[in-house]
Amino acid sequence: MKRRQFIIFLLIVVTPLALIGWLGWRVTRDEQDVLRHRTAELLASQLKENDKTIASLLQENQRKLTALTELSTYDADALRQLTRSTPLARQVFLLDQKGGVLHPPVLGAMLESERDFLRRTRRLLLDKDLIHAPSGESKTGVGSQGWHVWYWENGLNLIFWRRLENGQTIGVELEPGRLVADIIARLPETDPKSGGPASSIALIDSNGGQVYRWGLHSPEANELPRASVALSAPLHSWHLDYFLSGAQFDSSLQSSTLLNLGAVLTISAIALLALAFYFFREHSREALEAAQRVNFVNQVSHELKTPLTNIRMYAELLDERLPDDSADSASPVRRYLGVIVSESQRLSRLIANVLTFAQQQKNALSLYRKPASADEVIRATLEHFRPAFESKSVDVKLDADADAVVQIDPDALGQIIANLFSNVEKYGASGGMMFIESRQSGGRITIVVADCGPGIPDSESQRLFKPFERLSNKLTDGVTGTGIGLTIARELARLHGGDLILEKSESGARFKLWIESGTPSEMESRQATVERAIAPATAVSPDLNIMKEPQ
């Protein structure tokens, strides 16, 4: 019982907890994924804002350079002055329609810086990339101008080019350090007082080198960015990385999740424990109450038994002592006496059933075998029912062929048969007929009791032998009906090594009972161990014979 309760407890508490835990874990994990995804999106959008800042700087530069390269003359002096006065420009140059270099003056007097320029851009100028690039092509140009990206020395270099009306191309090589410095100047600084999570954004160049970084978080060397966005053209080989303090991000995510999950689990556990405890309390209380009721019924039955036995005994004694002259069955005294006897017998049966049932519930039901004849038991029982059957005009036909004396418990057998007869009396009396047939072969005694009443539908045949619910309040109510009669009858039959079944029949109910008669040795052993709590209440009980007439 303990073990079963423990398993039920486990089922009630642990299973839902595990289920909630698992679901909770699933939900929070999904939530984390969503959160992480959203965070990444948010971070990326922040990076895009910064990219816009950089892109707008380049657009601004493009506008500035467009205006600056609008000169009245494009001679060496003017172009040199442009180089000299433009902070953005490292070198200004001019190409003819076919890409030949007009400035710096290759054939004339060149500055040292101009020679350097030609040296580093030789490849670019020879390939005539700037001339062949159709206007507005990949180079983020509008009309006949744009940026040309060119990798040299430390990485990315930018050239602004613009087609002049005469087909010549003016170009401005940007001062690389200046470009970077301007980008840095536009990007935010690190404010040590800024709140929020420790994060930082790094601008990474085409070589993977960090150009600039801001924010309070110092990423580890191998730390992966939470989000990464490539810059817009022409700086598309650069990118912005968003770093977020990993421990902080994860732990805040994790801890909040775990906290939530933990809280849910704890609350559910407490609720379930309370519920389980409540059910357990209810269960034990009801079980206790039921046990108390059974006990009460038992005790009452015990208390009823003795006075009832006395009533019966004296009623029968009185019947015997009535003068024979009043043997006329129509005499009112004899009639009244008959009613007293039959009603007290009926009450005895009822009490016997209750007590037997109580024994069965305690698993303390046992047999008390002694030499007896089955037919005798049938006849004795029938004798008790005769007044009842007569009053209901039930014609009894007995086909008895089991009169050998064998080892059986006549009290138990009498109780079975009495229950079957009582059944007929109550439900089958309308048929006006009852057949009893008894047979004996080997150690087996078979008895059939059939009536011609309304019968019992097949669907009920199984429920017929089931008792009312044991723990229900119907226990005491049921005793007044026949709720336990057939149950006890079958139980006793099975105790005898036989069974009681409802046989199919064309009309009425037909019960078939068989029992095995035990060997004498078996009987001895049983008798030694079994202590019968209740005395049989049937008329053929030997106890009755012992009873003395009270003084």
Binding site: A76, R80, R84, S85, T86, P87, L88, R90, G108, A109, M110, L111, E112, S113, E153, N154, E175, P176, G177, R178, V180, A181, D182, I184, A185, E189, T190, D191, P192, S200, Q210, V211, Y212, R213, W214, G215, L216, S218
Partner: protein, 440 residues
Amino acid sequence: MRTLFSVLLVAALVTGAASAGQAQLNVALGQPTLVAGLKQTTFLKVGLTGFVFDSATVRPAVNVALVLDKSGSMSGEKIVKAREAAIAAIERLGPNDIVSIITFDTTVNVLVPATKLTDKDAMRAAIMQISAGGNTALFGGVSKGAEEIRKFFDKNRVNRVILLTDGQANVGPSSPAEVASLGASLKKENISVTTLGMGSDYNEDLLVQLAAKSDGNHAYIKSPNDAVRVFNSEFAEVLTVVAQEVCVKVQCAEGIRPVRVLGREAEIAGQTVYVQLQQLYSNQEKFLMLEVEIPAGEEGRNREVATVSVNYANMATKTTDKLSSTVSVSFTKSVAQAEKNENKVVMVDAIEQVAVHVNEKATALRDAGKTEEALKEFKENAVSLKKAGAKYSSSKLSAYVLDNEEATKNLAPDKWGGYRKGNLEDQYSRSKQMKKRSDD
């Protein structure tokens, strides 16, 4: 020479009445008289001396961005002294000046955005907050510093970024070339960067490049205790800027070939030499030393060598002033006559610049690990300086002999690193005619 001076004098008198003053242009040849019949080179010096503000004139306001390294290596004494130096510098400025403070370690923080210096207490409090830790994002710091200057950019102010660092730039662009590129660009905007290297771990090439390209100053602060002194002298100079955007154009006459400009960046295209100086300081001469090749001339003949024209923004009058001058050479048969006519001042300056050039070459050799060759160069330099010092009885050249001899004793690997920083500072200060720091 005499005519030239008189021309200048007249010009000074004429303008002097109306304005606080003008810069003095002094164009002279090392050898105004050459031996005839010989193609030879000589030195042309274009000297510019800043005028002195008269007491009535309000000094030009300055727009300074203090870019301070607060990386981990600055912790301790260095950051304490740097703070002290910055506060001392603030004390010298007035309510019309604009100051911003940028600190950098691994990242950059604009501690005080560009603002008029009306609340010195707040500025001091901000400076006292600076504490050290992290890496060295030098490029980012300078970029942000320049941006703060631009917020209140005015050609009538002295626009300067003052960078103090003690370490190798290791975050963001960090090669001398990249930093030089930024410096060159800032110069075009009239922003110069003064670089102050503290201790023994900074990259002197990077700092010298940045200062040179932007025509700022450069100094080596050997001991943190010198920080206040160096800051003071830097700010003293900043407060005496009298001219900015000084464009010097030397147009050589037909047949005269400009060979090289010593010590400064110059554009030489054909017959034209173009040099731009960021500023002139009060009562301080800046010059460019141009070596010219003069074809053989006939005895007794005069030949025009070059016309020098200068224009600059006068900080006192807020006008653009123009100066010009022409210089000629005469030829003689007598070597003695030619020698007698030598302009000693120009010759000494020229020899110093040549010696600086040799010193730089020797330094490069030592850097390349060619210690023997470097030793030889330093020694030869010392010898020729000694000879010239005796010839022109110049204490300046004699003193430089000692510097070069000192170099020969510091070529060992354990000494070179420390010595090199001081030597680069010395080269820089000589080639850019900076005021000697020890003079303060």
